[in-house]
């Protein structure tokens, strides 16, 4: 099957690949770029586990082909912590609020929440609505909602850190 070159900038690093047109973005990220933090939960765009940021927008990387990401900037969970390993306020808030159990859905929630952080605080109801595109089977969601609410506060308390 024909292959096509793909160039992306992922977590600030320029990467090239050479993939079949049918290869999904998530498989490209996991297999070709070897960034396995992004997970595959349903492959039909419902569970949100594969959510990544493409040019700042939260997208389901199982519903996008790698070739469609040509020239895009992508951010995954591996790009959240600082270069010194310092946790992003979202990561710290998820940790401190016990926002996950098995952790399989966490990267997706984290990236969805990262896109929300850019837009500023939400009410709990509005946040629950925004997070309803991601499925978690372990927590019953309350601790995830608490984690993101906490992250909103952390970001507004220390401006500059949260915009990262």
């Amino acid at each position: 099957m024909n292959r096509h070159p793909v160039h992306v900038k992922i977590n600030g690093v320029d990467r090239d690949g050479y993939v079949e047109a049918r290869k999904t973005l998530v498989d490209f990220i996991r297999e070709d770029l070897e960034l396995t933090g992004t997970h595959v939960g349903c492959e039909h765009g419902v569970c949100g586990a594969c959510t990544v940021l493409v040019d700042g927008q939260a997208v389901r990387s199982c519903l996008m082909f790698a070739v469609q990401a040509e020239g895009c900037e992508i951010r995954t969970i591996e790009g959240m912590a600082g270069p010194d390993g310092e946790l992003h306020p979202l990561q710290a808030a998820f940790r401190d609020n016990h926002s996950f159990q098995c952790g399989f859905c966490t990267p997706g929630f984290m990236m969805t929440a990262a896109s929300l952080l850019e837009e500023g605080p939400l009410s709990e109801d509005a946040l629950r609505h925004e997070l309803s595109g991601n499925l978690c089977r372990c927590t019953g969601y309350q601790s995830i909602v608490a984690g993101v609410m906490d992250a909103f506060e952390r970001v507004s308390d220390s401006t500059g850190e949260g915009g990262r």
């Binding site: 079949e20 049918r22 290869k23 996991r30 960034l35 396995t36 933090g37 992004t38 997970h39 595959v40 939960g41 349903c42 492959e43 039909h44 419902v46 569970c47 586990a49 995954t76 969970i77 591996e78 959240m80 912590a81 946790l87 990561q91 998820f94 940790r95 401190d96 016990h98 996950f100 159990q101 098995c102 952790g103 399989f104 859905c105 966490t106 990267p107 984290m110 946040l127 629950r128 609505h129 997070l131 309803s132 595109g133 991601n134 499925l135 978690c136 089977r137 372990c138 927590t139 019953g140 969601y141 309350q142 601790s143 995830i144 909602v145």
Partner: protein, 773 residues
């Protein structure tokens, strides 16, 4: 105790938060191939012809193996043939001449990539001759229906009958007999990570290394060795982070055996990661059960006796190794719950149908709680009593002599306290007042509550399956704790470290919990399941760590020339009583024991490692986890939507290791219980065709559907030893009862009795007669 009782940050978190977890799909081995299964589109059919030529010829395909190929190199499966009265059929890892449910695997393709493997599936030609499917309870009990297994007469695989007390006398003395049939629907575990594995047979050494997403690494090893007829010493199971299981990943699946066999045939590592459609249709379903019940009651609300008949639709194949045949007697024993009545007859049937099999799902015996607590409300409504009063009138207090009609010793249970506390916390009388107001406005507001007991670990006389831990003090003074558990989200690396750190006297980060490598961990077939971690695993870590502490103190005593009884270990330092300045770091003790044991006095035990068995000895408390959940709902007449206005939990799980983890377990369980009532159904049609193969059909609740859940603990402080009880299953056990009780309570003005558990808006609209049934 310094760490036990604290919501310490989880050890697991950093790797998960930074995208560096090690889940099964992250395993990548040199030369690794990829597998995909071809599955039956029919519920019941004979395979008349299979042609794999075209698939084999596709570039990138390495092998196409049929059921017959796998049968030739594996041992036929027969689950629990020794279980009394169980007609346990013999079956194969993959279908050979006949398929028995939609999703039954008939061929496995091994290819260079999963994309190519899936392409090849399309090229396999299978011809089927459809047979009449066995789909309903009625079909399965009908002797005229085809047998699903030729070696079993009929499709009733198991029947349990028992009588407790004088049932006739109880019914003769009754003022009223209430007769209902309570029906649950098929639901599924549905972890966010589907099933998957990497089988790596090394033709050079003959070793089979199986990378598994399992709740029981040792159980997986044992079953693979058995069914592959492979020497168990040459089978090693490795398991990393597991993305949820809820019981599903405790069993060994037919695909596991097929995949490992394929790797042995091909001589290369093969990865199989199930897609979500396969998962929903073929991984496992549960809760497809009903109980027909008759209750003998007096006009003042005393329950005198019960007659119960249970049906379990276990699907086609008995689950390996936890067949549904295990459940009827558990359900029977727990059905009386915390209530005092003098007679019960019970019949329980396990039925084979042409559906997916039935692995354990979080509280596999849940129907006992649902039916009993539903029944209490039905009785209350029939007698015009308050549901709280009917419970008060029948509930045990937990006195020493309290024993249910099925023989469960209930000394120390806190059911009554949890009930009163829940009513109090929720403001029960205020809710009733609000309800009265609502009813005047023709709004459907309801409150429901339910009480459960979970034998985790159960009363002393019930405890049967012990568990080991292995603990080693390393040369740097840190502790390695090896457990046969298979954690999949519960945070064992944290909670077991909390236990060990306290038992040894170490900082938390000096303890490392190791699981998921069968060459290091003790043998235990169960692993993580049955709420065993907090009880049995914690107990085994505690007693084993104590043993290692004793050994370390023995070495320290010899080195320091101080009697061991005058030494303590505090924060990793061995401290002589009254002479803190002479303290030595544990690392110095350990270093001497490992590197210079000859310097110790003769006879000093310098082996700083132990494996001990926890048998339940030294455990205080009742052994019963339990509690009461209360739920307030408002039902929208126009849409049938059930809004959960409030959800209150009062829980007793004994001493709490880590409150944040406990509360996470409770909330997650409640969410699954709510989901089973309002959203999730693994539906089949009358032909046995599966109807819920995507997340658009099988509806997992989202953040907008699960309410905030208020939690209160009845925590008991152990007199001595430990009193940690299981907490993983309670939420899922009792939430369906609390919620359906609230829904019926809301519908009381319409005279509706709820006798089914699955109540989506469409069904609520029928019950409220907004639309015709």
């Amino acid at each position: 105790m310094r760490f036990v009782g604290e919501s310490v940050t989880r050890v697991e978190d950093r790797r998960i938060l930074t995208g560096r977890g090690h889940y099964i799909d992250d395993v990548r081995l040199p030369g690794m191939l990829h597998a995909a299964f071809l599955r039956s589109p029919f519920a019941h059919a004979r395979i008349t012809r299979m042609d794999t030529t075209e698939a084999r010829n596709l570039p990138g395909v390495v092998a196409v193996l049929t059921g017959a190929d796998i049968e030739a190199v594996t041992v036929p499966i027969q689950v629990m043939p020794q279980f009394p009265d169980f007609n346990s059929p013999v079956y194969q890892a993959m279908a050979t001449d006949r398929v028995r449910f939609v999703g039954d695997p008939v061929a496995i393709v091994v290819a260079q990539s999963r994309y190519v493997a899936e392409d090849a599936l399309e090229l396999i030609n299978v011809e089927y001759d459809p047979m009449r499917p066995v789909v309903s309870f009625e079909d399965a009990q009908d002797p005229n229906c085809p047998r699903i297994f030729d070696d079993i007469e009929g499709n009733v695989l198991y029947r349990s009958n028992s009588t407790h007390g004088d049932v006739d006398a109880a019914f003769a003395a009754a003022d009223t007999v209430i007769h209902e049939t309570f029906r649950q629907s098929r639901q599924a575990n549905v972890p966010m990570e589907t099933r998957g594995a990497v089988a790596d047979f090394d033709p050079g050494s003959g070793d089979l290394t199986y990378y598994a997403a399992t709740q029981s690494p040792q159980g997986c090893r044992f079953q693979l060795a058995t069914y592959l007829n492979h020497p168990i010493d040459r089978v090693r199971v490795l398991s990393g982070d597991v993305g949820g299981g809820f019981g599903l990943k405790g069993p060994v699946h037919r695909e596991d055996i097929s995949l490992a066999a394929a790797s042995r045939i091909v001589g290369r590592p093969i990865k199989w990661i199930e897609d979500r459609n396969e998962h929903l249709q073929a991984s496992g379903h549960a809760r497809d059960e009903q109980i027909e019940v008759e209750a003998a009651v007096t006009s003042d609300g005393r329950l005198l006796g019960l007659k119960a008949r249970l049906l379990i639709d276990q699907g086609a194949f008995p689950c390996l190794p936890y067949a549904a045949v295990l459940f009827p007697n558990m359900i029977r024993d727990l059905l009386p719950g915390p209530y005092r009545f003098g007679a019960m007859s019970f019949e329980g049937l396990v039925l084979a149908t042409n559906k997916c099999w039935n692995p354990p799902y979080r509280g596999p015996w849940e129907i006992e709680t649902w039916v009993r607590e539903r029944l209490m409300d039905v009785i209350a409504h029939r007698l015009g009593m308050d549901p709280a009063d009917i419970r008060r009138a029948n509930m045990f207090d937990g006195d020493e002599e309290d024993r249910s009609i099925t023989g469960q010793h209930l000394a120390g249970i806190t059911s009554r306290q949890s009930l009163e506390r829940a009513l109090d916390l929720a403001g029960y009388s205020a809710i009733r007042a609000a309800q009265e107001l609502a009813r005047r406005e023709e709004r459907l507001l309801g409150v429901g509550f339910a009480t459960f007991l979970e034998a985790a670990p159960g009363p002393k006389e019930n405890r049967v399956i012990p568990e080991d831990a292995r603990v080693r003090l390393e040369s740097n003074g840190h502790l390695l704790v090896m457990t046969p558990q298979g954690p999949h989200g519960q945070g064992h690396e944290t909670t077991l470290a909390q236990i060990a750190a306290d038992a040894m006297g170490l900082p938390l980060d000096h303890v490392r919990v190791v699981h998921g490598d069968t060459r290091q961990t003790p043998m235990n077939l169960i692993g993580t399941g049955g709420s065993r971690a907090s009880t049995w695993a914690s107990g085994s870590v505690m007693v084993t760590t104590r043993k290692v502490r004793e050994k370390a103190l023995g070495v320290a005593a010899a080195m320091m020339e101080i009697d061991a009884s005058d030494l303590d270990i505090v924060d990793g330092m061995v401290v002589p009583a009254g002479a803190p300045s002479k303290a030595m770091p544990l690392s110095a003790i350990a270093m001497t024991a490992y590197l210079a044991p000859e310097t110790l006095p003769p006879g000093t035990d310098h082996h700083l490692e132990a494996q001990e068995t926890f048998t339940g000895d030294g455990v205080g408390g009742s052994g019963w986890s339990g509690g009461t959940h209360l739920c307030v709902v408002e039902i929208d007449r126009e849409t049938g939507r059930v809004e959960i206005v409030r959800y209150v939990v009062v829980e007793d799980c004994g001493q709490i290791i880590n409150p944040a983890i406990v509360e996470g377990q409770i909330r997650g369980g409640v969410a699954q219980g709510i989901a089973g009532v309002l959203y999730e159904k693994a539906a089949y049609d009358a032909e046995g065709q599966f109807l819920a193969g995507t997340f658009m059909d099988y509806l997992l609740p989202t953040a907008t559907e699960i309410p905030s859940i208020e939690i209160d603990h009845l925590e008991s402080v152990p007199v001595e030893g430990l009193d940690i009880r299981g907490v993983g299953e309670g939420g899922a056990l009792v939430a369906p009862a609390a919620l359906t009780n609230a829904i019926e309570d809301a519908l009381v003005p319409l005279g509706v009795t709820i006798n089914e558990q699955y109540l989506p808006p469409s069904r609520i609209m029928e019950l409220t007669r907004m639309v015709p049934a």
